[in-house]
Structures are given as structure tokens and as C-alpha cells.
């Protein structure tokens, strides 16, 4: 277990080219010991590269990695004492399940008793106990992935367990249980867990800190609540939450209000230092409600469709040429055509050049 510092890390797979393309732009970050982190982003945004840099499979083009303030940038993978689980099950086909789980301990010369104890305890957690003596290749895909996971968890002293979309091949029911197991393991052993995913629900339910990435850039780090309520960029607002954040092109009209289609919307953001006119107002559809008796921040909309999604209703409506989405209780009666919606000032986020101000 260790605190992991990534300082000014960047990476390009074609460094020697005259115009290198950076898979990972320079960033710095600290992963505290014993926390759960999720790295979230669309495919190809550099998540896996980041993990491989931490585990040592990839050497960063620039920057330093510190484990507990010790520089490990030049240390090879086997000396870093890290565990990594890949997206698809990687098992040692020629070994039994027990041998698979014991392999990391065997490579590091753990005693027979200790190995036995650890393997049994991990097998218990992952429901693999009854398979311990069967050949690993005979298991189903999700059981194989459990073995991969188990090999990651079998050592107690690892600096961190890195997981690269580990639950993709596992069926939803088991997925849910495993996520909880991972959380328990983290709470029990205080192992730092880093979890790469492109599924926001997975990230939100698993981690206490989420790192959002886009095109090789770390866009925002924070708790699920922060990411949800105050997205740093329009990308985060768009990427996190379902439906995506409502975003409207707008213009500033005073120090703390903007105009959308000539409707004045008050916000709690100071707009006196704007440099450009390119500003957007973002608001979560969860916060937009049907107007009751408020007298400002009201917009008139034409309802286009109402979807009943079980636990809530999603209203899609037109406000001039903008589309606005609002989530309301499913009991709410929704009038046919015209509707007044209320946009609460304290929940408005203003973006200048797609960045939060």
C-alpha cells in the first residue's frame, strides 16, 4: 500500500516522430493510500495508457511516478509490486485455479502456509472455492475473469490494484455483487483501488474519487457529487449524467444573469470578468422542475415528448430552437403542450469557452 504521485506525466507512442501525437497530455495527480479511484472517459482517451504507466508496462515520455515519495519511474513492472486486472480474462491456461491464484505469491517466494491462507481467503470472497482444483481453462468467461481479479487481490502488500474495465465480461447481477465485494475489500484491507471504466454508473457507485478524461487530458477530478453538480467543462457535463446536462448558448446581460432567447436567467456566478461572448449555461435536467409559484427564471416551452422511465418521467421540450430536458416525478401530471419550467439559479453553471467559471 502506498501513496501514488504522478508528477507532470505525459506520454506519446511515437516520441521520435517530428510531430509526436500525445496519448496523454501532461498532468499531475496524487492517489492517496487506501482510497477508491475511478478513471472515467470514452474509449481511446488514454485511460489504459495511464494505468500502464503506473504499473510500469509503459514508460512515460516525461514526468515522474512516486510510490510513497520514492521515484519508481525507471523501475520495471515486477519490482513495483502492483496488481493489474485487464479487461478480458487473462488466465494461465495450463494451471489449475489454485495455481493461478497462487502464482503471484509463488513468484515472490511466499511460504506455503501463507499462500494457502491467502488463496483460500480470496477464493472465498470470489466464490471460487469449489473450483480450486479444476483446470482454469475449463471455467466460463466470467469465472476466468474472477481468477484474474483474484490474482490481483491475493497479495496484501501491493501498492495498488489497477483494474482496466474488469467487469465488462461479467453478467449484471454478479457485477453488482462484485463491485460491492471490491468496496468491502478496500474498506477491510485499505488497498488502493483504481478502476478504469467508460460506464459512469460503475464509476459513480464504485469510487469516492472520479478522474474524468477526454482525448488524453485529465478534465476533472472529484467526488461523484462534484462531477454531477459542478462539471468543470461542458464535456464532463455532457459525459456524466443521464440524460446529459442541458447546455444553452447564451449571452451575458448583467453581472450575474444571462439571456437565452431573450429570456433572462439569474445565476449565482459573477460574470463581470468575461473575456469572450462565447458562453453557455448548463443545468442538469434533475434540477429543472415545472414552475409552481416562482416568479423568476421561468421559461416557456413546448412539450415534444414525455417518456415514462419507471422511476421518473423525462420531458423533452423545445424552447425556441433549444431542446430542454427535465426529469420529474413519475406521478406528476404533464399538460399537453405549453409548459412553464423553472431553472433554479443556484444550480446554474456558466461555461466560458467550454470551461466552468
Amino acid at each position: 500500500m502506498a501513496k501514488i504521485d504522478l508528477s507532470n506525466i505525459s506520454h506519446s507512442y511515437n516520441q521520435n516522430d517530428p510531430n509526436p501525437v500525445y496519448a496523454l497530455n501532461p498532468f499531475s495527480m496524487t492517489w492517496e493510500n487506501g482510497n477508491r479511484y475511478a478513471i472515467l472517459g470514452p474509449s481511446g482517451c488514454g485511460k489504459t495508457t495511464m494505468l500502464n504507466i503506473v504499473s510500469g508496462l509503459v514508460r512515460p515520455s516525461a514526468g515522474r511516478i512516486l510510490f510513497d515519495d520514492k521515484n519508481v519511474t525507471d523501475l520495471i513492472t515486477e519490482d513495483r509490486n502492483i496488481a493489474q486486472v485487464f479487461q478480458f480474462p487473462v488466465i494461465y491456461n495450463t494451471m489449475t485455479v489454485y495455481e493461478n491464484l497462487a502464482f503471484p505469491l509463488k513468484c515472490r517466494n511466499f511460504s506455503k502456509n501463507k499462500t494457502d491462507e491467502r488463496v483460500n481467503s480470496v477464493a472465498e470472497t470470489l466464490n471460487l472455492k469449489s473450483f480450486l482444483n479444476s483446470p482454469a481453462r475449463k471455467l466460463t468467461a466470467d469465472q476466468k475473469q474472477l481468477i484474474s481479479l483474484g490474482r490481483g487481490l491475493v497479495r496484501e502488500d501491493v501498492a495498488a490494484v489497477l483494474m482496466d474495465e474488469p467487469l465488462t465480461v461479467i453478467d449484471p447481477d454478479l457485477k453488482f455483487r462484485l463491485r460491492r465485494n471490491l468496496k468491502e475489500i478496500n474498506e477491510q484491507y485499505k488497498t488502493t483501488l483504481v478502476y478504469v471504466t467508460h460506464d459512469q454508473n460503475e464509476a459513480m457507485t464504485f469510487a469516492d474519487n472520479i478522474i474524468v478524461m477526454s482525448e488524453g487530458e485529465v478534465v476533472q477530478t472529484g467526488s461523484p457529487k462534484e462531477l454531477f453538480e459542478r462539471p468543470n467543462t461542458t464535456f464532463v457535463g455532457y459525459f456524466i449524467g443521464s440524460p446529459a446536462m442541458n447546455l444553452f448558448e447564451s449571452e451575458a446581460s448583467s453581472n450575474n444573469s444571462v439571456k437565452i432567447n431573450n429570456i433572462l436567467i439569474k445565476t449565482q456566478t459573477n460574470l463581470s470578468n468575461l473575456k469572450t461572448k462565447n458562453i453557455k449555461l448548463g443545468i442538469r435536467s434533475e434540477f429543472i422542475k415545472i414552475a409552481q409559484n416562482q416568479n423568476e427564471n421561468l421559461v416557456d416551452v413546448n412539450v415534444e415528448k414525455v417518456e415514462d422511465l419507471g422511476n421518473y418521467k423525462l420531458i423533452t421540450a423545445k424552447m425556441g430552437n433549444f431542446t430542454i430536458k427535465s426529469k420529474v416525478n413519475r406521478e406528476t401530471e404533464i399538460p399537453n403542450q405549453k409548459l412553464k419550467l423553472h431553472i433554479p439559479a443556484e444550480k446554474c453553471c456558466i461555461y466560458e469557452d467550454n470551461k466552468l467559471i
Binding site: 508496462l57 520495471i76 496488481a83 485487464f86 495450463t94 502464482f103 513468484c107 481453462r137
Partner: protein, 282 residues
Amino acid sequence: MNKFYIFLKYFFIIIWTVFVVAPFLWALTTSFKDFQSVNAGVTYIPWIDFEPNLEGWKVLIKSPAKGGVDIVEPYFNSLFVTCTASLISIILGTLSAYALSRYTFKAGFVKNNDITFFFISQRIMPPIVLSIPFFLFLSAINLLDSLVGLIVVYIVLLMPIAVWIMVDFFNKVPREIDETALIDGCNPYQAFLKVVLPNSIPGLIVAGMFCIIFGWIDFFFAFILTFTEVQLLPVKIVALNSSVTPWWSLSASALVSVAPLIIVAFIVERYLSKGNLSGAIK
């Protein structure tokens, strides 16, 4: 329609089987014939068509002094040369294939694929092109007409096959397996030996089979690079053919020379049918 299809299928299978088996049957019956029976035309049923005798077989193990042809020594020479050369080719070929599959090499415009192609190109070349260089090379290091010289040449011929098959095989073994082994605490050598290699046994068997077959059946280089000291089986069999062709011993020795390949084929076939080859890595 369905019946017609089945009929057609079996029809062609039977034709093919006859096509493959007939020469063997011919050789088998001929090996038990004497001069008169051979000249009496193609017949297949012993005791009715012809009177079988074991002369053709006995001659194979008699020494030349007693009027035999003695293929025992060439037989073991062939076994020794083929197995040694195959083994060394597989070891060297597997190591280079692993390197070519996992690491990036670059020397000017030459990259991994070019190196792999270089190996294969050795087999694209007509063997006759290589005969004179090999002859000069072996005579320069004094290994003409020796088992060691033949082994050296066979390694050159067989290693490309091993490299070619194994590169393809290793490319199909996911890189994550190596990476996982590294993360689990192996060094790169342990990762190769303990994890990648055991997973590659099917590939090794296929490569080994090809090496053994190509080594065993080679006549050309065995013929050019040996004279009197050392003889390999294919050369010996061809040398049996004198002014009066001894069809019976020729047939018998041909059958004996095919035998090891049939055994290899049976073993490998069993392995293949277990499904171990295709399902090794998923």
C-alpha cells in the same frame, strides 16, 4: 437433394482414399514378391495371385557382405539428423519468434515483419540456388560428408519454418498474458518459460511436426552434401536402384521410411482432435 449430397461426399472421399491408399497397397504387396511375381503384372492378393516371401524385407537388415543392403545405419543417421536439427531449430526458432512477436526491432527500413519475411524467403528460394553455397561452405569448414554438416544445413532449412509458425502463434497469444506475468512478479525470462511457453505447446507441436517432416523427407541436400562416409535414408533408398531394379526391397524400404511420419501423424492427430490446438487461448 440431401441424399445426393451425402452420396457425392462419400463418392469423392472414396475416390480420394483409393488415390492415396493404392500406392501404399502396391508397395506393400510388391515388397513380398519375388522377381517372377513382379514381372507377372500388378496383382494384390497373396497366396492366390502370387506366392509371398520375405526376401525384400530380410535384405534390408543384412550387411552388404552377405548380399544385403543394410538400411539400418542410414535409418538411424536420418533419425539422428532430423531429430537434432528439428530440436535445435525449434529452440532457436521459438526464441526468435517470441522476440519478433513481442519486441520492436528497427535497423534502417528493416522492421519486425521484414525480418520474419527474411526467414520465410529462405524457403521461397529454389533449393538448388543454395546447393553450391552450402557445398562450398561445408567444404570450407571441413564438414562435408558428415552428420554435423548435415545438421547445420538442416537447421538453416528448418528454422524458418519454426519461426514462421511460432511468430504467427505468439501473435495470437495475447500480450496481456506476458504483462500479467510481469505484474505477478516474474522477470521476462520467467514470464516466457513459465507462462507463455506452456500456453504455446500446441504451436510447438505443429512446428515440430513440420520440421520433422521436412527434415525427414529431404533428399536433395542429403544427396549433394554426402558421399561415402555418411548416408541418409532417402539417398540410400534411391541408391538401391541398380541395373536390375529390386522392386521388392525398394518397396519395403519405402514403407519403412514412411513409418515414423505415420506415427508422428497419429500422435499429433490425437492432440489436434482433443481441441487443444484451437482453444488454447481465448
